[in-house]
């Protein structure tokens, strides 16, 4: 039996897809059979971030409608073993991802994968509810910014009321992943700190991913940033993967780095 983990946020553009891609890649690199699923019907993007957009033949909706088998639709990652991607459909009909269909796909995946990462669309509508519906755990991706924190709180409410686990009186394990964090702005007092956000949302912290130029370069070339092992964001995602697996690690990227004269000069 695998673990179904939804990566969700309410607000768009906070880093769900970036995080789904890197966490899934990190889990697979540790030898765990991992599938990462794009639930963003009509706005397929995970394929680009994973660098497999040219290899998409069938998608999630094709599988649900019986036009393709799950094995035909799953794309095997070329860099990392044990890693598979199920792309979203570009169809306009969002309802095509209906509950029974999603249930069947997840059941099938659950019997052969250790981790199933569900990349949720933004919003609190059908797509987001489907992505979280069968989850065992939730990673709530939040930026240190008022609207993102508020939306995350809304999502926590939905996780605690609308999911299968909640309806069965069980609890979904929730994790906070704070992304696009800028320790220098926090120090100056113009960005919410990790403590501030934790105090408001009151869920355990999985990790803090710094605002980093390496995220854009990674997405430019279709390589999840976790594969960029020298980058701060890549290392922060590796730490988050370790914590997801129960390891205890200190937070590394929450304080400003002291810059020397030369690194300032070079714009580092």
């Amino acid at each position: 039996m695998g673990k179904i983990v939804v990566v969700t946020s309410g607000k768009g553009g906070v880093g769900k897809t970036t995080s789904s891609a890197s966490l899934a890649t990190g889990l697979a690199r540790r030898g765990l059979q991992t599938a990462v699923l794009d639930f963003d019907v009509g706005l397929r993007n995970l394929d680009l971030i994973m660098g497999c957009e040219r290899r998409v033949v069938y998608d999630f909706v094709n599988v649900i409608q019986g036009d393709a088998t799950l094995n035909q639709a799953l794309i095997r990652d070329k860099r990392v073993e044990n890693l598979y991607i199920l792309p979203a459909s570009q169809t306009k009909d969002k309802e095509a991802l209906h509950q029974d269909g999603v249930a069947k796909v997840l059941e099938d995946l659950n019997s052969r994968f250790d981790f199933i990462i569900c990349d949720s669309p933004a919003g609190i509508e059908h797509g987001a509810l489907m992505a979280m519906h069968f989850a065992d755990e939730a990673i709530v991706v939040t930026n240190p910014e008022v609207s993102s924190v508020r939306d995350s709180d809304r999502i926590l409410g939905l996780l605690q009321s609308k999911t299968v686990k909640a309806k069965n009186g069980e609890v979904i394990k929730e994790h906070l992943l704070l992304t696009r964090y800028d320790p220098e702005r926090v120090q100056r007092g113009d960005m919410l700190s990790v403590e501030d956000v934790q105090e408001i949302l009151a869920i355990p912290l999985l990790g803090v991913i710094p605002e980093s130029k390496s995220v854009l370069t990674a997405s430019n070339s279709g390589e999840p940033v976790i594969l960029d092992e020298v980058s701060d964001a890549g290392q922060a995602y590796s730490d988050a993967v370790a914590r997801l697996l129960g390891e205890e690690l200190p937070q590394r990227f929450i304080h400003p780095v002291k810059k020397g004269f030369f690194s300032r000069l070079l714009g580092g």
């Binding site: 910014e145 008022v146 924190v149 508020r150 709180d153 809304r154 409410g157 926090v186 100056r188 007092g189 113009d190 960005m191 919410l192 700190s193 501030d196 105090e199 408001i200």
Partner: protein, 84 residues
């Protein structure tokens, strides 16, 4: 007063953001708590309080908060400055 003490005396915007979030999040949790009578309760409290002091709806907060195993219904009325 120099420009530096001016900036120092002001709350940081992060602090302002945190305070605003604490209020709105508590409020929305209460709204989504399943007690749909809360808005009407707030209106009625307003009418009662207005018999004694002049307050507006925005000064009345009605929230449901979770404290361990029990839920707590909280009322908060911010009184206006006595001078104004």
């Amino acid at each position: 007063m120099g420009i530096f003490s001016y900036f120092r005396s002001k709350k940081s915007t992060a602090q302002v953001a945190k305070n605003r979030l604490q209020i709105i999040v508590a409020h929305e949790r209460a709204q989504n708590s399943g007690y749909d009578f809360l808005p009407r309760l707030r209106q009625e409290i307003l009418l009662v309080v207005q018999k004694y002091v002049h307050v507006e709806l925005e000064h009345i907060n009605v929230d449901v908060n979770r404290d361990g195993d029990c839920e707590v219904l909280e009322f908060n009325v911010t009184l206006p400055d006595s001078k104004s």
